[in-house]
Amino acid sequence: MSDDRLRQLLSVTPDPEEVAERAGRARRRALARTEERPAPARWLWAAWVAPALAAVLLAAGVSAWRRAWRIEALAWTPPAPPIVSAALEAPAPPAAKRSPRRVRPMRQERLEVHFALSDGTRVLWTFDDKFSL
């Protein structure tokens, strides 16, 4: 019994004329929205301006990147003349005073390397007892 009464209460709706009017208005608005076309200016923006702007930004980025990573070119130097001969000399150390108690090994004080280059240049490298040039 109370269920039927509840259904009866729930079945009430706005006036049919009002329903028809509001539904019709909603339909007309929806159909009008389907006929909307994007404005030409927006189309142009999408088709040309945005890609052009993107290309300019890309070019600027590439230019900046290349500038940052550029390596300066080295000055040209002619190749060194080849070595014609090389000689190693080890001058004998001065005679040391012999100790009766202890025999010390002989110590080389100097080492010389003589180079002769093909253009006549002579080069002398001298190494000391610590082998530094």
Partner: protein, 193 residues
């Protein structure tokens, strides 16, 4: 009093075949067929939207969005029950409206009735609308589909995307809550009366 049956009788709902034909023509680009298709369901769509959101202006917005979706998504309709497909969209759109409106939606009072309204019916509408605010959205959907739109729980379940038993339980809970609230104005709704 105006009942749902009276509105439905006033609406010339197309037969299944006629609806299918309109859909086919509308898909082929026939604008008149598309409009006729929407006209065939517009009052039902508005009535359902009003029952789900409980507000005349909001129901109009919901109906408008549903009509727009019909226009744009008709290619996705895979045949069968066109009205069921539309009702699913109404339910989803009403859900979206509630989510967007947030808690403020529950506070909205009905916008004034149009001139020449039936005062007794408007009073009953206001009481029912106010009472339905105590329902959760899911309970409201279940109650509207079964008790107000006249669907079986199985049909309502297909539209709402849940199980039939769930629809029955939610509708029963909704009835219980409504009876308790409306009993203040309608003592005959009290249990055992």
């Amino acid at each position: 009093m105006t009942s749902v049956a009276a509105i439905e009788a006033a609406v010339a709902e197309p037969a299944e075949g006629q609806s299918a034909e309109l859909v086919a023509r509308a898909r082929a680009g026939d604008r008149a067929a598309l409009e006729a298709l929407i006209v065939s369901v517009e009052r039902r769509v508005y009535a359902l939207a009003w029952r789900l959101v409980g507000d005349r202006a909001a129901a109009e917005d919901v109906a408008q969005e549903v009509f727009l979706k019909i226009c744009r998504r008709l290619d996705r309709f895979r045949g069968g029950n066109f009205l069921g497909w539309v009702y699913r969209m109404v339910v989803n759109q009403a859900h979206d409206w509630r989510r967007r409106a947030g808690p403020a939606a529950e506070e909205l009072g009905e916008v004034g009735a149009p001139p020449g309204f039936d005062a007794a019916r408007e009073e009953q509408l206001r009481r029912v609308t106010d009472a339905m605010r105590v329902l959760s959205p899911k309970e409201r959907e279940a109650l509207v589909m079964t008790d107000m739109e006249g669907f079986t729980s199985g049909e309502a379940a297909r539209i709402l995307g849940c199980m039939a038993i769930t629809v029955r339980v939610r509708a029963a809970q909704a009835r219980k809550k409504l009876r308790r609230v409306l009993a203040r104005h309608y003592p005959e709704l009290r249990e055992g009366v």
